[in-house]
């Protein structure tokens, strides 16, 4: 059986890797043709890596045809999408390519602290063009990975990846975080059962002080990622969240925040992409 990925399958919103199961249902051997793929968002990398892992565990052999586009192929290889998801020791990519963090599994909260600490120096030394959003990136890695490890309780743990890109001549830093837990809407309904519509539940979870736990002073992580983004000199930023049957996009342009939620096909877990665009010019 052969499945051919579309040109845009690797984009942030598409989330196609999550639906591959349906396309390859029942196949013991399959060819996945990624030849047309152009662009590879870290969130796609996270979903793809988890999907590949599941296929291997189920005994299904997958042959992957690499992207033909050179930049996409380099990212594809740097993300190591055909290999097992690695741990912290292999997280950071130490070359001058665009991949910063290859898909990495975090199972314990201590690993979230270790990742942020490991990531700091490369962000300072190698990524001058995105220096203005460093605080926002570290806040996002800290808060969102912590949520995923704490609430995404499944064997898959939290998987995170990051890369640098370029859009309209400006530098961009992109983050993808996923877990296979109950998802934000179900979690939030633990404290807010009235939020029955998944995209509304996601939207509320982004507000300050809204949490699925009854503990006081919780539920500020998302709002602080936004605060740090607004405090930075990012020219724009965008967050995308998909969980349950909801999807939610938050756009930040010129310090203005625009939110949009919509209904989508059901998906297990929580999948988050965060992109920051800066006025810094890529130096390569």
């Amino acid at each position: 059986m052969e499945v051919r990925l579309s040109r845009a399958a690797g984009s942030r919103d598409h989330g196609y890797a999550g639906e591959l199961d349906a396309d390859l249902q029942g196949a013991n051997e399959a060819i996945l043709d990624a030849g047309d793929l152009v662009g590879l968002h870290p969130l796609f990398a996270v979903r793809f890596a988890l999907w590949m892992e599941r296929q291997r565990q189920a005994g299904c052999g997958i042959e992957v045809k690499e992207p033909q586009d050179e930049a996409t192929r380099l990212c594809f290889r740097a993300f190591r999408l055909e290999k097992d998801i690695g741990g912290l020791d292999e997280a950071l990519v130490e070359d001058d390519g665009d991949v910063i963090i290859r898909p990495t599994r975090l199972s314990e909260l201590t690993e979230v602290d270790e990742l942020a600490d490991k990531l700091l120096q490369p962000l300072i030394d190698q990524f001058d063009d995105v220096a203005v959003v460093r605080d926002a990136v570290l806040m996002a890695v800290s808060e969102l990975c912590q949520n995923a490890v704490e609430h995404g309780t499944s064997d898959a743990g939290c998987v995170v990846a990051a890369s640098r890109g370029e859009v309209d001549g400006m530098s961009q830093i992109m983050l993808g975080i996923g877990d296979c837990g109950i998802g934000i809407p179900e979690h939030i309904r633990g404290s807010h059962p009235e939020l029955v519509v998944d995209e509304h539940a996601i939207g509320q979870a982004l507000e300050a002080g809204v949490s699925g736990t009854p503990k006081p002073h919780r539920g500020y992580g998302f709002s602080w990622v936004l605060k740090e983004t607004l405090a930075s000199a990012a020219s724009s930023a965008e967050m995308f969240v998909r969980a349950g049957q909801g999807a939610f996009r938050r756009e930040i342009v010129d310090a203005r925040v625009k939110d949009h939620g919509w209904n989508t096909s059901s998906s297990r877990g929580t999948w988050i992409a965060y992109d920051w665009t800066t006025i810094g010019r890529p130096d390569r």
């Binding site: 300072i124 800290s142 808060e143 500020y220 605060k227």
Partner: protein, 117 residues
């Protein structure tokens, strides 16, 4: 993990906890709880403790709130409780710490006492 006795400056009456010895970036509430326990041990029933953020480049809201916010709430409720005085903050860490104290409803006066700015 921490050599607590080495954290006490000879010239100061208050013990000092040097956070930067444990890294440059701090993320989780779990890590903050662990460090809070170490600070309580270091204070050994005393009233004041200096928490030195020199060299710390990044703190998350969760970490700051669980470490300093919890200490600050306890101190505001009971002035006999341990008083954490924070020094050596980067602009980022100060912004986040003050955000935690504001969210917890601490007065400006109390915030200035604990986080000089």
């Amino acid at each position: 993990m921490t050599t607590l006795e080495n954290d006490i400056p000879q010239s100061s009456a208050s013990p000092r906890y040097v956070l930067g010895r444990h890294g440059q970036a701090f993320s989780t509430r779990a890590k903050a709880e662990q460090i809070r326990a170490e600070i309580e041990q270091l204070a050994a029933g005393g009233r004041d403790v200096l928490i030195d953020f020199e060299g710390v480049r990044s703190v998350s809201y969760s970490f700051a709130d669980e470490l300093i916010g919890v200490f600050a709430s306890r101190y505001e409720a009971d002035h006999q409780a341990l008083r954490p005085v924070v020094i050596g903050l980067s602009a980022q860490a100060q912004r986040v710490l003050l955000g935690s104290l504001e969210q917890r409803g601490l007065s400006d006066e109390a915030s200035r006492e604990l986080v000089p700015h």
